[in-house]
Symmetry: C2
Subunit: 310 residues, 2 copies
């Protein structure tokens, strides 16, 4: 007999990860969203937000709702869910807030349905949530939010291909300056074409970053994080970015960049002590600019969204 209620934690994630625009991502141990799902016998979704962000509760317009609607299309029996969401991840912060709610919803629903779907199928469902949030079905936050660790979305089509990889021990420092960067606007800044030579340098870094993670080569990770294409285009959206990077590197960070489409900035670090010093360095820049900001320091999470209580 399956339980009819689960409590799920769904992690924040960092997409792009420097050089890996649209394909690389990793999961953070904190912050995370908390979702309580109850299975009901009648079709239908009821979404309640226990937070103060005024997010839509109409299922088709809510990221968790849209993800669950995609999942329910593959369920034959009459099933519905009541979902209570507590956002631990601030919407618009650039650390995968929408992905966390979408991933948490489908992981919870899958548990209530006897785990009939694979993690890859859950990624596919949860992408429907991303389409609601940003207008684009992308998996670079969803993949780590489901699989945990370090992920590569090798292809979205013709067949979704996600490569889940172990990450070496690493600490992440994130600063979220409270300025608004809309994903759609950040996408509008992207170049439509890139010089071949620059694309080559970028894919050399993508290969280097994957190799660095898989061989725990911290120096290589630091060198390979550099993004030659997307960050230069988006840098004007985030005042203080260049100075934040300078101070983070001086404080010992391996490297970093814009998290997703911003405005958060992430830095990878060898150890927790360094990560805290780097967070302080990042925070100091925005304090001087008079921009309110949050800081997060934590390890990479080896697991993605998961049931924490039934």
């Amino acid at each position: 007999m399956l339980n009819d209620t689960v409590l799920v934690h769904a992690p924040a994630t960092i997409a792009n990860l420097g050089c890996g625009f649209d394909v690389l991502g990793l999961a953070l141990a904190a912050p995370y969203d908390t979702l309580r799902l109850r299975r009901t016998g009648a079709p239908g979704l009821k979404i309640t937000h226990l937070d103060h962000y005024n997010l839509p509760t109409d299922p088709a317009r809510n990221v968790a709702g849209a993800a669950l609607l995609a999942l329910l299309e593959k369920v034959d029996e009459p099933v519905g869910f009541e979902i209570e969401i507590t956002k631990g991840i601030m919407p618009g912060s650039g650390v995968g807030s929408s992905a966390a709610s979408a991933a948490g919803a489908v992981v919870g629903a899958n548990a209530l349905l006897g785990n009939r779907f694979s993690q890859l199928e859950l990624v596919d469902f949860a992408m429907a949530g991303e389409a609601v949030a940003s207008g684009v079905r992308h998996a670079d936050n969803i993949a780590p939010a489901i699989f945990g660790g370090f992920t590569l979305v090798r292809a979205l089509a013709p067949v979704l291909d996600v490569v889940a990889l172990p990450a070496p021990p690493l600490w992440v420092a994130v600063v979220h300056p409270q300025i608004e960067v809309k994903t759609k606007e950040a996408r509008a800044l992207l170049p439509t074409a890139v010089p071949l030579g620059l694309a080559v340098r970028q894919w050399a870094n993508v290969g280097g970053l994957v190799a660095g993670f898989l061989t725990a080569n911290y120096g290589l990770i630091g060198r390979a994080l550099e993004d030659y294409i997307v960050e230069p285009a988006r840098a004007p959206l985030i005042p203080g970015l260049a100075e934040a990077r300078r101070r983070a590197l001086a404080a010992g960070a391996l490297g970093g960049g814009i998290s997703g489409s911003g405005p958060s900035i992430f830095m990878l670090n060898h150890d927790g002590e360094t990560a805290h010093a780097v967070a302080a360095a990042l925070g100091s820049v925005f304090a001087e600019l008079g921009i309110p900001h949050d800081l997060h320091v934590g390890r990479i999470a080896s697991e993605g969204a998961r049931v924490v209580a039934e």
Copy 2:
């Protein structure tokens, strides 16, 4: 007391490796060039070819000579070399013929000088040979010719950064159709800019291929080899390419593509039996086209150019 003569084998290499234009490469167990180097007390290089290719013997115009001249710039004492080269790798075949001679020369010279230079320095010297051969200082063949295995040239500048990685057991089938493809001409066909979306798909494959090699995930290797950018531009240079790929995949190849700038075509395979069947399939296409061709089947070489006798 150092010996004054060494015999070196320097392997053929496959550059680009599908998706990894200008950055990925691997070393083949065969074919290889054989170089005999003798250290002389007086400055100067004397190059003799024991093969029938009529390659230049003027050191500044010979790939081995140019590489040795770059090395000798870093040597203070009066040293010269006599070099006898036997080309096991046909020039212009697209499996790193020039890189092998350049790599073999600097590896041999380094042995005669007490191995004072690192492998990375040897890559740097040997790139001078590539500049002679193709007009471009590139390291995608040189890196595997020196390090062996599977290599990623992460950056040429500001600091040369080569990542040498272990390869899983893999067999390579290569067909060399005897048509002329000049590296310079093949480069002229390249697009100067690529759509961002295509570049993203390409760097997803580069990351996937590196992950596939490092985790011995053969299915991923096969999927990730696909080149969306360079091979489509160069395909017209190689009649039979599409049919060769089709037959190779039908014979069990994981995947493959143009080796370097062609005309050789490589296919990676899980085992030797498959590799032989794939080579036969590749050969059948060019036999039907009436194009003379050579076939090579062998493992990836874990070592690069090396001294085999003193």
